[in-house]
Assembly symmetry: C2
Homo-oligomer: 156 residues x 2
């Protein structure tokens, strides 16, 4: 239950890949495709959405690719997913684009609303920087580095 679409998942992985290569300049779709095992054609669709949303910007021509629009700590997972999959809406009643007639007096409505807010704050609080640190940690784990605070939960 409560699956994320592949579009959203690939989108986050693509953004992570762009963030990871930040020092090497623009990242091409081809590189992302190879490193994350997602087809070029599908990534084109996904990255285009994210660009229109202003989360990344593109550089055309040879040597081009995609770069983050802001620093990794300013780009949340929630922001990425919202662009690719629309707002968090456990039920159609909670989707601002739809709505519901029997909201008043509906107990479950409050339940789903609370769950949705819970999820949303989790996603909005988690950023690309956290993923980068989590990755760093994973690579150097055995050497007993100090662990960044928020990431610790990712390794419990």
């Amino acid at each position: 239950m409560l699956r994320l679409s592949t579009k959203g998942q690939y989108g986050v992985r693509a953004m992570f890949e762009i963030a990871r290569s930040i020092s090497r300049g623009p990242t091409t779709i081809k590189e992302i495709s190879e490193r994350q095992d997602v087809s070029v054609a599908y990534l084109e669709q996904i990255l285009n959405t994210l660009r229109k949303a202003g989360l990344i910007s593109s550089v055309r021509g040879p040597g081009g690719g995609y770069v983050l629009s802001g620093t990794p700590d300013k780009i949340s997972i929630g922001a990425i997913l919202r662009e690719l999959e629309g707002p968090v809406a456990i039920t159609s009643c909670l989707d601002p684009r739809e709505g519901c007639l029997r909201v008043d007096g509906c107990v479950t409505h409050l339940l789903w609303k609370a769950l949705g807010e819970n999820i949303e704050s989790f996603l909005d609080d988690m950023t690309l920087k956290d993923l980068l640190e989590g990755n760093e940690l994973m690579a150097t784990r055995r050497r007993g580095r100090r662990q960044p605070e928020k990431i610790r939960m990712l390794h419990k």
Copy 2:
């Protein structure tokens, strides 16, 4: 993003309806159908699943219907949804029935896992009793009753 299917939603509403009528004995599908605006045929399918899972039991023949297998405080929303929609699995990688090959070294895996655990503890902590109290509260709100602890968040 992250929608719950109607099956899960209707299931929770049906269970709530059975719990609410607990003092009046077994609740019929027809009653649930009328009170919750869900077709009898669809409810048959849903309640059958919940019965096989042992969350409710049925009484056949005239005067029959469905009754809860336990007290409302022992039946969690999570338990209901798991039966109707399978385990919480944000990605297919996290579904015990599927799995993933590239788990090791995958940062997002840890992210989705943490989110899934977050959601699951929310759902497992919330019970039919909480819904009943939330409903009670909603009905008597204006008369300034004292509010049960956990339900307060449902009305923030």
